[in-house]
Amino acid sequence: MRKHLCIPYSVFLVLFVVAPIFIMLFYAFTDAENHLTLDNFALIFTDITVLSAALASVSVALVATLICLLIAYPVAYILARSGIKRQNALLILFITPMWINFVMRINALKEFFGLINLLDKSPYINTIIGMVYDFLPFMILPLYTTLLKMDKNLIEASYDLGAGKFTTFVQVILPMSMPGIVSGITMVFMPAMTNYVVSDILGRSQITILGKLIENYFMQTNWNAGAAISMLLLAIMFVSTWLTGGFKDDGAQAARGGLW
């Protein structure tokens, strides 16, 4: 029976995706002596280190996501409406850097910043530029896919009915590109909150974002606090993915899978 072919992968998923989450859950709700406690979560909301890391994460991620959106939307829009012939070649130009190892890409940016004397300026600005540099394709791809699928007749209809360019954009094009915008935001925001490679290399380790904090706790073998923060991130991810219907659609696939 063909359906039995999914057994190995199902077992794999249970062992290495589901079980680890439950183990993390266990650590999040226990202390170093394995006693049940809520202290780890209390720590998140009271400890100044955690709070400042959360603030740094959210602010960096918000700004980076917004800039990504502001750059990626026009890019995707122009690409989607350029002729079929050029479309593929142009898209490839924007996506190709994604194939280069991302630590090496960030290192390239670091060396470039060193060259133009930007490296020792603001760790925040450098980190944000790095995040935008790194995650821009994740925003372009889902937007491009959505805009490409958009029914152009509706835009024509809007013009025919007397709407101006601005009205057409706000009332027709923008609502229709919402799925792309939403999946682009999810693809950029979460990594921007947690990918500490960017803040370590470009922010010269002067910024601690949540991902870095989890790593710090892990290195100090304080697994419980790290697990609690991770559980919170996991919960945010679940809620946002559920709200945006990401467990059903192929937004993530469009963003990452669009590579090949």
């Binding site: 359906k3 183990i23 993390m24 190709t96 390239a108 979460m190 467990f247």
Partner: protein
């Protein structure tokens, strides 16, 4: 006309932002100086340094081996999984699809920590001992196999189901029908799933850092440790390595583009 120029000027500006750091690195890979920006005359010195740096060469070999190995495992597991899920009942389908999406949408650090905790618990020992080649490969399969599923499933949906039934009616065994009908139909999905797995594995830092054996390095972990504060050593042969990787990727991208164009024809 002005509008058109504005459009392309904008695209050019974004491309400039994306490519300038890479081109600067490529340019300065052809001179053997310590600090980027100093030009000490044209030289292949950094390339010579790169290829004679046996430590770095081992790391490159390890990275490729890990990516291809984990990619192959993910491709087999994921392809079988995709076929199995596709023919499962609605509820199983929904449940497995949901689980499959967890590593895709999850923050990498969360996946990394959860796996590290699992292996620590399994070995019942300190973190240092739980990091093995096994944990590393499993972790890479966790982050790559879901993408094989996501690549193969659309091809299964596009497939004409009647051909498989016809093969069975004509006396083919289920295994034979599978190998001669289903697999060739979904092959493009399998291949792109494999390529995607390899790319994602090559690209990964966080999950690797949390599960790799001590002393083992991939390009990502090596570069991260070499350039971050407070170490910040100038490993200038990395410029040569970046250039080579960039060249390989340009060639692959061009080839893919040609293949796609032929497929369209």
């Amino acid at each position: 006309m002005v509008k058109k120029i504005c459009k392309y000027a904008f695209l050019a500006l974004v491309l400039l932002f994306i490519y300038i750091p890479i081109f600067v690195l490529v340019f300065f890979s052809f001179t053997d100086t310590k600090v980027l920006g100093d030009w000490g005359g044209f030289s292949f010195g950094l390339y010579r340094k790169l290829f004679t740096n046996s430590h770095l060469m081992t790391i490159i070999g390890n990275t490729v081996l890990l990516a291809v190995g984990a990619g192959l495992i993910s491709t087999v597991l994921g392809t079988l999984g995709a076929i199995g899920i596709f023919y499962s009942k609605k509820r199983t389908k929904a449940a497995l699809g949901f689980l499959n999406n967890i590593p895709v949408v999850n923050a990498e650090i969360v996946t990394a920590l959860s796996l590290a905790l699992l292996f620590a618990m399994l070995s019942g020992l300190s973190i240092g001992l739980s990091k093995t080649y096994f944990s590393l490969v499993v972790a890479h399969v966790v982050i790559t196999a879901p993408f094989v599923i996501l690549s193969v499933t659309p091809k299964l949906k596009q497939m004409d189901k009647n051909i498989y039934e016809a093969a069975l009616d004509l006396g083919a065994s289920p295994l034979r029908a599978m190998m001669t009908i289903i697999i060739p139909e979904i092959l493009p999905g399998i291949l792109s799933g494999f390529m995607l797995s390899v790319t994602l594995s090559l690209d990964d830092y966080i999950v690797t850092a949390f599960t790799k054996p001590n002393g083992f390095d991939t390009i990502s972990t090596y570069v991260y440790n070499a350039v971050k504060v407070p170490v910040n050593s100038q490993v200038n042969e990395l410029r040569a390595l970046s250039t080579i990787i960039f060249l390989i990727i340009i060639v692959v991208a061009v080839l893919m583009n040609i293949r796609k164009k032929e497929a369209v024809k």
